[in-house]
Amino acid sequence: MSIVASIGTQLLRFALYVGLYVLLFDNSSVVLFGLGWNFFYLGFLLFLPINTPISLQLLLGFALGFTVDIAHDTGGLHATAAVLLAYLRPWVLRLLTPRDGYDAQDTVNVHQMGWQWFLVYLSLLVTVHHLAFFFLELGSLQHPLVTLGRVGVSILYTSVVMLIVQLLFFPVRRGRG
């Protein structure tokens, strides 16, 4: 795929994830158990190509988080957590490298990489992101149980939504997307 085409694809993905999140999955209307909400927009970062340069990932993470921050009036909260996720993603990918390394065609795709790989990848990154997000939002460790409850419910919610996105929209056969 040419560079222009891939940049175009990524821009479209950015617009789709952020647009859907801001316009549809507003966190005051779609809430699980009255506690946690989903961070749908994280799909943009989580499903970037595996060989994206780290600096580009960090910048994209910042842009993503900051856009959501503007919509939700949270200052830089989403941006902080998203940049952390973007920084940790290459480490997690390295940690989970298959025995013979990643193929050039490998993408973050539940069909290609297998359920086990995908679930470990997803839960590690989402857990770190949500812990950072909710404790930073509170600005203290005052209500640990409630916050942990929110983190737990949100992890569940975000992970399930990400899985659904994967199963619905990601190609089953290798090398097409």
Binding site: S28, I70, D73, G75, V83
Partner: protein, 342 residues
């Protein structure tokens, strides 16, 4: 030089990470300050337009509910417009006082006998009589607060963005400086106090709602006028708030209405805030812990009104220059001042 470039390239990830985190945290930590540039929030022109469009679409699915709300609002206003005939009728007999046991005191028939009382007792008796023969000693707080504002119309606004479950929650309204909205204006709805304007752009404004951990509203209990302060402790749910600084010796009743006191110039006096749901007095605390059920249902907030404030800068600057007091001291002093008044 080559080594330096190699070093920069090698650690570009870490450095960029630290830089971006510092920038984000700076934005996050300065978010609730008022000096913040008005651009980076949901009241800026682009995000405002986007959110307004979204509201246009989602409104379509809630038309019935919106109509009902407006109709209820209208009905209440009409009731004020056409009061029943006997509203202003006065009692056709002399007002009678009652003693502490509730028995009628025929003081106008038998004037109090001053010779048996000590001078102090006489003073008290005179004071009591004054209280009891004037049926409404306390002025109508609603009129008092709004006397200067009667000519200033409320600015009607539509909520186009709303958050409920964050630690500091904000609303975005579709009115801005072009409609006469300024920062620090109060925002109310038919059901009660909503919040306070924080930043405005030309056509949109951002409001810190009651569900904001740093917003405190000067309040009083309507029944006996005890003043306090309503705040929202971070992490609680969106239908409850806490009423602070109610001295523990003051009697509380579940179901008491709590209204704004008008002590801070953001809200006029007498706007409904909520009702007392539960309260506890602990032996080692001076103030009761009072839980309020908020009058406004923030999850279905649609139409609100921005309260115009007459030039009150003079009063505020006066109060600020005479010393910044912490809230409990302020509350206690105000309480003392209130008690001193006859």
């Amino acid at each position: 030089m080559r080594n330096l470039i190699a070093f920069l390239l090698r650690y570009q990830g870490v450095m960029l990470f630290v830089l971006l985190e510092v920038v984000s945290l700076y934005f996050f930590l300065t978010n609730s300050s008022y000096q913040r540039a008005a651009f980076f929030n949901s009241a800026n022109a682009y995000m405002g337009v986007l959110l307004a469009r979204r509201t246009q679409v989602t409104d379509y699915f809630r038309l019935a509910e919106l109509n009902q709300q407006l109709q209820a609002d209208n009905a209440q206003l009409r009731r004020q417009l056409y009061p029943p005939d006997f509203t202003h009728r006065e009692a056709d007999s002399l007002p009678v006082g009652r003693d502490t046991l509730g028995r009628v005191v025929y003081r106008h028939l038998h004037p109090a006998t001053p010779q048996v009382l000590t001078p102090q007792g006489q003073g008290l008796l005179a004071q009591n009589a004054k209280f009891k023969t004037q049926p409404s000693l306390r002025p109508d707080t609603l009129l008092l607060g709004s006397s200067k504002q009667a000519t200033l119309p409320l600015v009607p606004a539509r909520v186009i963005n709303n958050s409920l479950r964050e630690v500091d929650n904000y609303l975005t309204l579709n009115v801005g400086s072009a409609d006469g909205v300024q920062p620090d204006r109060g925002v109310i709805s038919a059901a009660g106090v909503v919040g306070k304007v924080q930043a405005v752009s030309a056509h949109y404004s951002r409001v810190a709602s009651m569900l904001h951990s740093k917003l405190q509203v000067a309040a009083q209990i309507k029944r006996d006028g005890t003043i306090g302060s309503v705040g929202w402790p971070e992490g609680s749910d969106f239908s409850h708030a806490m009423l602070d600084y109610i001295p523990r010796q003051n009697k509380l009743v579940v179901g008491d209405s709590v209204v704004t006191s008008g002590y801070n110039s953001v809200f006029p006096a007498g706007v409904f805030i909520g009702t007392v749901e539960s309260f506890t007095t602990e032996p080692n605390k001076n103030f009761s812990t009072v839980k309020l059920r908020l009058g406004v249902d923030f999850s279905r907030l649609t139409y609100v009104y921005v309260v115009p404030t007459p030039p009150r800068a003079e009063r505020d600057s006066l109060e600020e220059h005479t010393g910044e007091l912490s809230a409990p001291v302020k509350a206690a002093q105000a309480q003392a001042a209130k008690a001193k008044k006859p």
